[in-house]
């Protein structure tokens, strides 16, 4: 890992800390008050704030995880250079796709 990747992994981790806290607290609050899935979707759909919140979450998690997986495949499987980077980019794109699809389903 070089300085640039280290920087982005730490920055995305820092971004995710408050996002995870808000996500967990909101989830526990919503479930604890007995909200149904339909009632939750009724509050999130059309909400720009929740869209930005979970959109940011997905981007941060995708970048963070891809950098980590890049390191793991380098250390465990000996992948280096272009193959290692390509695997990380593909992993990031897959996470962005899956996460983005979930965000769209919740807020659109």
């Amino acid at each position: 890992m070089n300085a640039r990747l280290y920087y982005w992994q730490r920055m995305t981790a820092g971004l995710m800390v408050p996002l995870i806290a808000v996500h967990l607290v909101t989830m526990i609050y919503a479930i604890g008050n007995g909200l149904s899935a339909a009632e939750i979707l009724g509050r999130t759909q059309g909400s720009l704030i929740w869209g930005l919140f979970y959109g940011g979450f997905v981007v941060a998690a995708s970048v963070h995880a891809a950098i980590g997986v890049r390191t793991v495949i380098g250390e465990w499987f000996g992948l280096r250079g272009k193959v290692q980077n390509a695997f990380a980019v593909i992993f990031c794109v897959v996470l962005l796709g899956l996460g983005g699809r979930a965000v769209v389903a919740v807020v659109m």
Binding site: M1, N2, A3, R4, L5, Y6, Y7, T71, G74, E75, W76
Partner: protein, 234 residues
């Protein structure tokens, strides 16, 4: 009847095997004493390294019951398990023969990390006074007593997983120089330790500081390099 120790010692190269010896147990015996007894009384062909015998030269390190130790200062009583000693060459380095390893990679990485002094003055300049109480000097002093024994390198998981990784010793030395006000190589050193195989590969497992016989903390030095490297880029 003389009490004895059961000692298994690695023999041969990378494809070698352990050979068992029975060694007389003595009070205050060090692991190096045991190895020396084997060479002098059981098998004169046993290859191992030592020089000072007092914890200064860093040449006698080896794996003792699976953990890297400086053998001249490791008492048998503190490392023995179930009455047995298992001695192997230092991990993460190529075996030459028996208990000796090829340290070339280890020292090449010191050079790759620019872990050598870059003078900022000539012999004709006045010798600068170094204040011992500045924050930078304190950080350098906290890490400077390395004896190049390779124990941290053998203990490091990241070295084992990533052959490019410079390792705790080289990076620790680089950190002392980053904090040395007489040194003029900070820029190229931070570039050298920030690239592929550099300080950002460290997972902070802290095995280096657990096993360092000089009680240094290379993990802390590497964390310092990480911060300095990022600051230099911004």
């Amino acid at each position: 009847m003389t009490k004895t120790l059961q000692v298994s010692i690695w023999r041969g190269g990378a494809d070698g095997d352990y050979q068992s010896f029975e060694v007389p147990a003595k009070a205050n015996q060090t692991v190096l004493d045991v190895v020396t007894w084997v060479q002098r009384h059981a098998d004169a062909t046993l290859a191992y390294r030592f020089a000072c015998r007092v914890g200064m030269c860093g040449s006698c390190a080896m794996m003792v019951n699976g953990e890297p130790r400086w053998t001249c200062r490791s008492h048998v009583s503190s490392v023995i398990r179930d009455g047995e000693l298992k001695l192997a060459p230092l991990a993460n380095l190529p075996v030459i023969r028996d208990l000796t390893v090829d340290m070339t990679t280890f020292f090449d990485k010191w050079q790759r990390a620019e872990a050598r002094f870059h003078p900022s003055k000539t012999r004709h300049d006045e010798v600068p006074a170094i204040k011992p109480d500045t924050p930078a000097r304190k950080m350098a002093d906290a890490a400077v007593e390395c004896i190049n024994c390779g124990v941290c390198y053998a203990a490091c998981d990241t070295v084992r997983w990533n052959g490019d990784y410079l390792g705790p010793a080289a990076l620790n030395r680089a950190w002392t120089l980053v904090n040395d006000e007489r040194d003029a190589g900070a820029k190229q050193r931070l570039a050298a330790v920030s690239g592929t195989g550099g300080c950002y590969n460290c997972h902070s497992h802290q095995s280096c500081q657990v096993f360092c016989p000089k009680a240094l903390n290379p993990t802390r030095s590497i964390a310092g390099l990480k911060r300095a490297g990022l600051a230099a880029k911004s």
